[in-house]
């Protein structure tokens, strides 16, 4: 049995290490800033990390699990590291932290627009809600979505009419 303070300290060390683990697809942002860490729990036997996939079919999930297991294991906090993939709570693009949004922009990605507030819209009404993105290079809002699907499941392709630069947006989802 450890004191609450000691337990909290160990959890803090896990969070600090997680904040240094990059997203495998966009290395400029950490898994913490991406919002994919659901929870951290530490006891004498194990460290348990809950991982929230950005997209259900995200092929980077396995890589994230391996990296987290290895890096947290090397801290020597507990004999076992368990990385559990869960959709409770579901990851949404609103989970990206303010720092994470800035890191995305510096990596050349427009951060996702905030999700609309209020109750979910009806099936075909949602079609009218086109996401918008500010150009990560010149800041212009004079942009158009070229393709809601991009090089990975979580990215859409845009074009900036002002600086004439194509860019990607981390999808709002």
């Amino acid at each position: 049995m450890v004191s609450a303070a000691a337990s909290e300290l160990r959890e803090r060390r896990v969070w600090d290490e997680l904040a240094r683990i990059p997203d495998p697809e966009i290395p400029g942002i950490s898994v913490v800033d991406l919002g994919v860490i659901g929870s951290v729990a530490v006891d004498d036997d194990r460290v348990r990390v809950e991982l929230l996939p950005t997209f259900v079919g995200c092929p980077a999930i396995g890589v994230m699990q391996e990296q987290i297991t290895e890096r947290i294991g090397s801290l020597g906090i507990a004999p076992e590291v368990q990385v559990v993939v869960t959709m409770d709570p579901p990851w949404t693009s609103d989970r990206i932290t303010a720092a994470g949004r800035e890191r995305l922009r510096l990596s050349g990605f427009a951060p996702p627009a905030p999700l609309p507030a209020g109750p979910a819209l009806g099936m075909l009404d949602e079609l009218a809600v086109l996401p918008i993105a500010a150009c990560p290079y010149c800041g212009s809002g004079n942009t158009t979505m070229e393709n809601p699907f991009g090089p990975t499941l979580c990215r859409a392709i845009y074009h900036c009419a002002d600086c004439r630069q194509p860019f990607e947006q981390f999808k709002r989802v």
Partner: protein
């Protein structure tokens, strides 16, 4: 991947019916995902190559998550369920049994499927079986992009001289089989009572028809009355047998292979 969520105690009848539901959902996503992947490299334009490939990856990812949920319920292996069955063991709706056809045919099928899937997922997101509710809610966010894509193409082809005829023909020919997304499942009444299926399939079907007729009929003219049939998820033809041969090729050649 490790499935999360505390297992809920289910009696045999409920577990059996839930397994039927999960298999139908998973096979729908799995099979349409593989048909979509048939456009990779040959879609009408580069942007569509990217889009259909990305959609295919989404759908097969959804299928994987559903097969994993099913495997924990039936103490099975998700890869065996996905790749280890004979063609007759698959439970995708008849809508998904056809080859991809031309672009208008693919757009027509995708629109019929995405709208039906949206109605189904909206209900399942409130399922009393929490692992399914969470997954359906998550899938729904992603499917919104597919719906947007399918509807944009539907409208685009509907306004083009040659394409509009092909689109209307495809919609009319697929209309009867599209109903089968809501085909009755064995033991469905158990799921209705338990709140696992919060809205009966019959009611979801009526809801879907009410929403899509005003969108489709300006393109097709009046669509006939049509309803799901008992074997709507069991009619498999040569198109699917060919696709099955393709997607099981690696698993058959190298049993237990991972990639």
């Amino acid at each position: 991947m490790t499935a999360a969520g505390e297992p809920q105690p289910l009696d045999d009848a409920t577990r059996h019916a839930l397994a039927e539901l999960l298999l139908a959902l998973a096979d729908d996503e799995f099979v349409i995902g593989f048909w979509d992947s048939e456009w990779t490299g040959i879609a009408p334009m580069l942007e569509e190559d990217v889009a259909t490939s990305s959609i295919a990856q989404d759908e097969i990812g959804h299928a994987r998550a559903l097969y994993e949920l099913l495997a924990t319920l039936t103490d099975d292996d998700p890869d065996r369920i996905a790749y280890g069955r004979e063609p007759d063991g698959y439970r995708h709706a008849a809508l998904l049994d056809h080859a991809r056809g031309d672009w208008a045919f693919s757009v027509a099928r995708r629109h019929l499927y995405e709208t039906a899937d949206a109605v189904r997922l909206a209900s399942l997101a409130t399922s009393s079986y929490e692992p399914l509710a969470l997954l359906a809610g998550k899938m729904r966010r992603e499917e919104t992009y597919h719906l947007l894509h399918a509807d944009a193409w539907l409208q685009r082809l509907a306004g083009a001289p040659d394409a509009s005829g092909r689109l209307a023909d495809a919609l009319r020919s697929l209309w009867p089989d599209a109903q089968e997304v809501f085909a009755p499942l064995a033991g469905e009444e158990v799921l209705d009572r338990a709140g696992i299926l919060p809205t009966p399939l019959r009611a979801l079907h009526a809801d879907w028809q009410r929403q899509v007729r005003p969108v489709l009929e300006p393109i097709t003219g009046p669509l006939p009355d049509a309803a799901p049939t008992l074997d709507g998820r069991e009619r498999h033809g040569d198109d699917f047998r060919w696709l099955h041969g393709e997607f099981t090729m690696v698993a058959r050649q190298e049993a237990g292979a991972t990639w």
